[in-house]
Structure formats: C-alpha cells, structure tokens
C-alpha cells in the first residue's frame, strides 16, 4: 500500500508556519469576513493579491493541488452558468443599466453587467480559497485542534477532529487489506465489475471494516480514559504555541485590512457593489 498523506501539513519553517495556530485561524476568519463584506471588484482584487502574497510567503505548492484547483475552476464556471440560466438579468437589476452584448431571446440577454457581476463573484472565491487551503497546509492538526479550542470550540470536538486525522491512515490500511483479501476470495471491486456489483461488493468490505474499526475505537477510548481524558472542563494542549509579537502583528494587519474594507464599503462606495457603469 502506498502511503497517502491526507493532511498535507509540512513544516517548511516559513514566517507563516511560525505563526501560532490561533493567530492563523483568527487571520483566516478575519480575512474571510472582510471578503464577505464587499463585492467591490477593486477591493476584492487587493484581497486576492494579499491572499496570493501570503501563499507565496508560505511556499504553498500550488502544483500539488492541481486537481483541487481544477475542481474549483469547474465548480465556479458551472456555478456562473447556472446563475445566468436561472437569473440572466441579475446584474442589470443590481447596477440599473444594461449594456447588451448578445440577445439570445427575450429572456436570455447577455449583458456586460451580468459578466461583471459573475467576475466579482469568482474573484471573491479566489480571494478566500488560497488562504483556506493554506490554513490546512501550514498548521499542524493538533495545533489546529488546540487553536479551535482556543476560540471556544468545545475541546472534545477538537480531540475528535485530531484523532480522526491520527487514525485515518490506519483505517485506510485496514480497508486496503480487507479489499485485497476479498479479491483473493473472488470478489471483484475493481473497475472491471459492473457498477451494481461493485456497490454490493463494497458493502461486503464494510462489514469487516466496521468491526475492526469498532475494536480500534474501544481501545482508543480505554487508552484515553486511563490517562484521565474527559475528567476536567478544560484541558491544555502540548502543541499550543503561545502568541508572540509576530502573531499580534499578523492579527493587527488583518484587522486593518478588514477595517479598510469596511471603510470602502460604508464610507466611500456606500454600497455592496462598486458600479463601473456610471
């Protein structure tokens, strides 16, 4: 079995990696909120730039996430097309003008306003996606768990999350073993068998998988209880990294970006959208 890395945390030792988990989660949330508050293309472009610069600083390996990025691109495109099919004049309604590019029929009219609206939406996604992926790439799972607990997520939920990541490779290994042993006894769950057969055969793998996983769960919960898990209302985290100067700076920076966005939104443009058509 080839080892598959689910959680691709790699400590590259960049400035981003050195930030504490709490500040990373906070910065992510602040920037996401910032982006949610605006549809101003200029602001969104600036946010996207910031997001890309941060990814660059963290040496984020975009190449390794090609499949994911492609999936995202397709998703965004389909989303835009569906939007157009359902409400082709939404852009016109928002901006109050209509620069027609092409008229399919009375209902489907392609306008510059609609294209501009869809562009804003895609850029909005783009401003968040890289830092979202970055969060998972640059933060150790346990540290993430401790950070989530730091922002008041109940600690039991956080441990469940960390444990899922700890045992995922083991369960995956079980699955592979079971699957191969089944094949040796004449069960074909490979692409050669028909779909209905494959579904039926996969269900045969699930029985042993569930049973061996239940064994595992019992063992883990015993091991945890025997070491005092769950007795107190709170717990500390070995992987927690206390905030340092750079963390405060990072949070300050993101907060400033957020304030700037709010300023643009409520004091300058005074609208969710920035209208280039007037």
């Amino acid at each position: 079995m080839r080892e598959i890395k689910v959680f691709s945390y790699v400590d590259k030792g960049t400035i981003i990696h050195k930030l504490s988990g709490v500040s990373k989660v906070l910065c992510f949330l602040i920037l996401t909120f910032a982006s949610m508050f605006t549809y101003d293309l200029r602001v969104l472009l600036v946010l996207t730039m910031i997001s890309l610069i941060i990814s660059y600083l963290a040496k984020f390996p975009f190449g390794r996430y090609k499949a994911f990025l492609l999936y995202f691109a397709i998703f965004a495109l389909v989303n835009s097309i569906l939007n157009f099919l359902l409400a082709p004049t939404y852009g016109v309604e928002i901006f109050g003008s209509a620069h027609v590019i092409y008229r399919f029929n009375d209902f489907y009219v392609l306008t510059q306003e609609e294209l501009y609206y869809q562009l804003c939406k895609i850029i909005k996604f783009l401003s968040i996606i890289p830092i979202g992926m970055l969060l998972f790439y640059s933060i150790h799972p346990s540290e993430l768990a401790s950070s989530l607990n730091g922002i008041k997520v109940p600690y039991k939920a956080c441990t469940v999350f960390a444990l899922a990541l700890r045992y995922f490779p083991d369960i995956q290994k079980d699955y592979n073993n079971i699957n191969l042993a089944q094949q040796a006894r004449g069960i074909d769950s490979s692409k050669k068998a028909s779909l209905s057969k494959r579904i039926k055969n996969t269900s045969k793998i699930l029985i042993p998988l569930v049973f061996s996983t239940l064994d595992r769960v019992e063992l883990i919960s015993n091991a945890m209880e025997l070491r005092g898990y769950g007795k107190a209302k709170s717990r500390t985290w070995y992987s927690y990294r206390p905030l340092q100067k750079r963390d405060y700076l990072a949070i300050l920076f993101c907060t400033l970006v957020f304030m700037a966005v709010l300023f643009m939104r409520f004091a300058v443009v005074k609208n969710l959208f920035w209208n280039p058509f007037i």
């Binding site: 346990s142 042993a181 006894r185 091991a223 025997l226 070491r227 070995y238």
Partner: protein
C-alpha cells in the same frame, strides 16, 4: 514492616453480560515495590483482574462486585478511572492503537494536558520523561515513523508522567519481536528500580518475563487464584503445564529428560539454574536418543527468484530475495518487524507486484495471474480475523469463496462440511460468528481459505495474541493439515512456533535473506539472532551446560516435543 499497596479481599466480579462471575473469591496482597507476574490463559480472568485495578472495571465495563479491592487503602469503586490513573499507570497491549497523539511529545503529554498543566511546565516534564525512556530525541516523530518497541516506550512514558506508584502492563510482549521484548523487560526492570514503583505484569510468555527478576508469580485459572509463589517454587511444580502455561524451554527440556526440578536448583533463570553432574548426564543421554531429522518431499512447489520490490522507489523493502518452498513443507518466514516478511507474502499472493524477479508455482511463471487466480492456488489468512470475516454465519463465511466462484450448491455443501469437520467447527456450522472466541474466529478464516483447496496456505502471525493452550490448538491443527500434505508458509516472529513446527525457514534482514535452513540452527547462532532481532533460546545455554552441540540439542528437543504431541493425539 512491608506496606500493602493493593489488597483484594474475597473479591468477585461478574460482567453484566455474563451469567457466571469472571473473578471468583480473589484474595491477594501486593506490597509496595513488589514485582508480580500474573499468568493465566485467555479468558482465565487475568486481564479482568488488571482492569479492576485501573478502574475500567466497574466504571467502563459494568458488573456486580462483591468483596473488596483496595488500592492504597481506598476501595477502587469509590474512586473514578481518572482518580485511579494517578496511582495506577496502565500500558495496554497494543502500543500502536493506544498512541493517541500525532507525535511522540504530544502522546507523552496527554495525561498532563488533561490535568491542565501549564505549557512550559508540560514541555519540561515531557522532555524529562522522554529522556528517561530514551525517546528524548524523538519528540517530533509521528507514530508512523517509529518502531513497535519505541511506541511501547512512549506508552510507558505516557503513564510515567503521572508519577504513578503502580505500573500495570497488560501483555506487554504480545506485539514485539523477541529481541525488542527482551529490551522491554529490561527497561521495565530499570524503571522500577529508578522510580521504586510496584510493577504488575500480565503476560503468558513466562520465560521472556523471567529474563529479569520477578518477586512472585500469581497463576489464575477460571477466575480463581490457583497459586502464588516465588518463580523458583512455581517452576519446581507441574502446576503451570496443567493450567496451559508454557514453562521456560530449559525447564521443560530438563523435565523431558526426567530430571526432578527443585527450588534450590534456582530454575527461575537459566543463569542461576544449577544442575548436578548426574542431571547433566541424564539430559545428555536423553538428547542423544532423539536426534533424527524428518525427511520431506523434495519437489519444489513455489519458487521466488531475485525478487525486488519497493513502495516508494527509494527504499527497497525486498531487495533480491530467492527461495524455494518444497511440496508438503511447513515453511517459516522470520525476521523483525518491518524487515519485509509481510511484503514478501503480499508479493506471493499478488496484493503487490514485484518490480523485478519472478515467482514460479509448479515451475510456471504466475506474473499474469490476477489476485483471484492466485488466490485459488495460494491462499492467505490475514493476522486479524476481523479483517476477513464478512458473513454472519459460519457456514456462509466458509462457503463464500466457493459461491463467488460459481460452484454448484451441492458441491459447496459437501466441501464446506468436509472442511468444517477438519477444522473442528462442524458442530457449530449454524452459529453466528459473533458468538465465537478469537481463536475460533481464526479457525473460521483458515477454513474459509482451506475450502478453496489451495496448493499453499500462507498464514500471517497465526498465533499472535494467543495463549499457550490456544496456540497449541491452532498449531496442532495446522500440523495435522500439513501431515495430510498441505504446504504451509508461516510469517512469524514467534520463535517457539518456528522451532517446534517448521521444517525450514528463511530469515529476512533488511529485505534480504540472511539465513536459510533448519530452524534449530537459527536460534543457536548469535550472529543471526542479533541481525534479525531474534533471541537465542535458553536451549543454547542448556546445551553448553551439559556439553552438547547446541544445534543437535535443539533438534533433539524439537523431536521430543513432537513425539510427545503425537503420543497425546
């Protein structure tokens, strides 16, 4: 005046799900600083006794308690698992499964985290304890990156951070190769001396635990304490064998030869074991009368030639292995954890494909056979039966492979019943599998492969986690199959198994064959045992004591063991 730290008084426990009590009228006192070994078969109640100490009973596994069980003067049932964990540190059998952190440091820190210990204090303490068990340089490693022995050290450190008075080990040797097991026992001994703690070891591998001094052995059978005494006294009686516990090899060899063992011969360790001149002569005469070697068929059934394989193209897990398995042979593949023995078996059944080299079955290259086609010729029984069983009833599980192959119902019925009879499961054929014990489940998985009539059966650690009685049951069953002509390959790090049952073996070290030949020659060769993380048997030392070639002596012992087994049948 010695201070009592644990005291059972007329203690009985019955699980809610069971009719009869699992522990019956236990009376046992353990003093502070004592080292006690609890032995007994699976199901004898020895693990239940351990769980009564750490609080899993009655807080997790509920049931009825009568009598009293006190730790440091307090009834355990008045405490909680968490409170008890401050006095009793438990190291469980499966050191991989109990690794709850994503790296070593985090796992050691787990108890401290739950105690809300401040980060800087915690880091310091973790570093200290990790250094104590020699893991100080591995704090950042993930569980995937360290060995089984190291995981056990981490588990031990994880309970030591609590500064416990009592260390409880539940079958600490079960998942370790022999050399690592030996180190583990030495480590437990050293730690006990350093921390002055009370140590309780639950284990059925008696000889391995006795590698270091033990104060007392407690034998449990059917929920009752049969005997508690010093190792020297216990080994001088026949009570262990009667209750299905294996004696150290040197003791059983001496007993085979008719030597009467007495406590003043100090039989608890081979290093202290004293034999008189007469005793030595008696053993020598006995050994010389048992020296013949069995001859088997010489037709080659399976051949691997220059096999090479790697998972990641960097490290070659299998690095040029060639070997032959003869028809009707009981063949063992041995080596330490991670040496490549399981990978080799995966190549043979086609779960993985070799990067180079060829596998011949009856002289035919089987490169193009699918997993299923190979499965019909070379069946594999996985270590964990729960990973194989996918039907609710025994009959269906055994019939499963035949059904998939489209065999006619009548023939299925006939073949399944025949196989169930061989495996001693016929009476239970309509039982649900969930009602079976672990050992019985194992037999079901063997039956489900056997029914396909493969030319070769491969078993991955067939006796892992089995006590001596069940081990003997499984192995005698396999031996019977073998005598009827079934070729069997076993992957194991159980040295007794290899020594007593196998005709030939290969020892794999770092993906290469380091030794090929008779099992009796492996464990008397220090160079091989060191390389392969094995352990020299005590028969080697006994042979030297009586002045006989260790090779020959070991072979005599194996022969005597075998004929004794056959006499029993």
């Amino acid at each position: 005046m010695e201070e009592t730290i644990i005291e059972f008084k007329d203690f009985s426990f019955k699980y809610n799900a069971q009719k009869k009590p699992t522990l019956n009228n236990i009376n046992l006192k353990i003093n502070k600083g004592e080292k006690v070994l609890i032995v007994g078969l699976s199901g004898s109640g020895k693990s239940t006794l351990g769980n009564c100490l750490n609080g899993l009973i009655p807080f997790k596994y509920e049931g009825d308690i009568t009598g009293s069980c006190k730790i440091k003067g307090t009834e355990t049932r008045e405490l909680s698992i968490a409170e008890l964990s401050k006095s009793v540190g438990t190291v469980l059998q499966d050191s991989d499964g109990q690794f709850v952190g994503l790296n070593v440091g985090e796992d050691i820190a787990f108890a401290l985290e739950n105690d809300n210990v401040k980060l800087d204090v915690m880091k310091k303490q973790v570093k200290e304890i990790a250094t104590l068990v020699d893991m100080g340089d591995f704090l950042e490693q993930s569980p995937l990156e360290i060995s089984g022995g190291q995981k056990q050290r981490v588990a031990l450190a994880g309970v030591l951070v609590d500064d416990v008075d009592i260390l409880l080990f539940d079958e600490p040797l079960a998942n370790l190769d022999p050399a690592t097991g030996k180190t583990a026992i030495a480590l437990i001994d050293e730690l006990q001396k350093k921390t002055n703690s009370t140590v309780i070891i639950i284990e059925h591998r008696l000889e391995d635990v006795l590698y270091r001094h033990v104060d007392r052995i407690v034998l449990i059978s059917d929920g009752e304490i049969i005997l508690e005494d010093t190792p020297d006294n216990v080994l001088s009686s026949d009570v262990l064998i009667k209750h299905g516990i294996r004696e150290p090899l040197y003791v059983s060899a001496a007993k085979f030869a008719g030597v009467k063992i007495t406590p003043d011969m100090k039989p608890s360790s081979i290093d202290t074991f004293k034999l008189s001149k007469d005793d030595k002569d008696q053993i020598l005469t006995w050994a010389k009368s048992h020296m013949e070697i069995r001859k088997k068929d010489e037709t080659t059934l399976l051949e691997g030639k220059d096999l090479v394989f790697s998972y990641d193209e960097k490290k070659k897990v299998i690095n040029g292995i060639s070997f032959e398995v003869k028809k009707g042979e009981m063949f063992a593949i041995i080596g330490k954890n991670g040496a490549g023995k399981s990978t080799l078996s995966k190549l043979l059944v086609g779960f993985e494909r070799e990067d180079a080299g060829t596998i011949f079955l009856n002289g035919r290259d089987i490169k193009d056979d699918t997993i299923y086609e190979r499965g019909k010729e070379i069946g594999i029984v996985l270590q964990n039966p729960n990973q194989m069983i996918c039907n609710t009833f025994i009959f269906d599980e055994v019939a499963y492979g035949l059904k998939n192959a489209g065999v006619k119902d009548e023939e299925i019925k006939q073949r399944v019943e025949e196989t169930l009879k061989i495996c001693g499961l016929y009476e239970m054929r309509n039982w649900p599998i969930s009602a079976l014990s672990y050992g019985q489940k194992k037999r079901v998985t063997i039956a489900s492969i056997l029914v396909m009539r493969p030319k070769i059966i491969i078993l991955d650690e067939p006796t892992a986690g089995q006590d001596y009685r069940h081990y003997t049951e499984i192995m005698e069953f396999l031996e019977k199959l073998n005598e009827e002509g079934q070729t069997i390959i076993m992957i194991t790090h159980d040295m007794h198994l290899m020594l007593e049952y196998c005709d030939r073996c290969i020892t794999i070290v770092d993906g290469r064959i380091y030794f090929e030949g008779l099992p009796s020659s492996v464990l008397v060769n220090k160079e091989i045992t060191d390389k392969a993380n094995l352990k020299m048997t005590s028969l080697y030392d006994l042979a030297n004591m009586i002045g006989m070639e260790p090779n020959d002596f070991t072979q005599s012992y194996i022969n005597a063991e075998r004929s004794l087994r056959h006499a029993r049948d």
